[in-house]
Symmetry: C2
Subunit: 124 residues, 2 copies
Amino acid sequence: MDYPPDAFARACASRVVLDRIGDRWTVLIVVALADGPLRFSQLREKIEGITPKVLTQTLRALERDGVLTRTVFAQVPPRVDYELTELGRDLLAPIDAIRVWAEQHAARIVTNRERYDEAADQLL
Amino acid sequence: MDYPPDAFARACASRVVLDRIGDRWTVLIVVALADGPLRFSQLREKIEGITPKVLTQTLRALERDGVLTRTVFAQVPPRVDYELTELGRDLLAPIDAIRVWAEQHAARIVTNRERYDEAADQLL
């Protein structure tokens, strides 16, 4: 008998998927591809601070998951495009909502952390 | 001059926030608290496989961020409730959309990974 997926259940595959989506670079790559395919160099330029190694690894993991496709064009120099699949497009709305929340509340969260640490210091 | 927050920018605080939200345990704790406050033991029961240590650490990090509050009731035995703040409630919709996506597509993603690995094996 099949059970419906339940992320609260220990063995549910959705937990592994959560880990992949949760990665900060995954969020930024998926959002970067929202408007259409990009090349490696364009992604690297758009996502400040990502190393070529981490970009390569994250793109490969997302290709493996079926979230994006990698298309090689036989030209000189060779051109490689990365593009969201339908599965990746489905992910775009919730993942972009997370990014917006993070951007909107980042300053407040940093303040919260400082206050929390100050209060903790006074208990020492 | 202040710039609007931009998760694509290297120094943006929203990146640190993304890391916190991205954690699988954060997702499950925030969703678990959707219907109201819970005690430590109730959270531990609901989120299968979480260790007491990781639950304690993640709750503390979320309290520090201002996503949830910790209320101690002076009774015997002492009772401690965890409850989402307004900031935490704002996070609920996007974070739950991520969980739903993960649950809906987990099986397909596992299949995608198997196919990808088989294809890679044939290239060896």
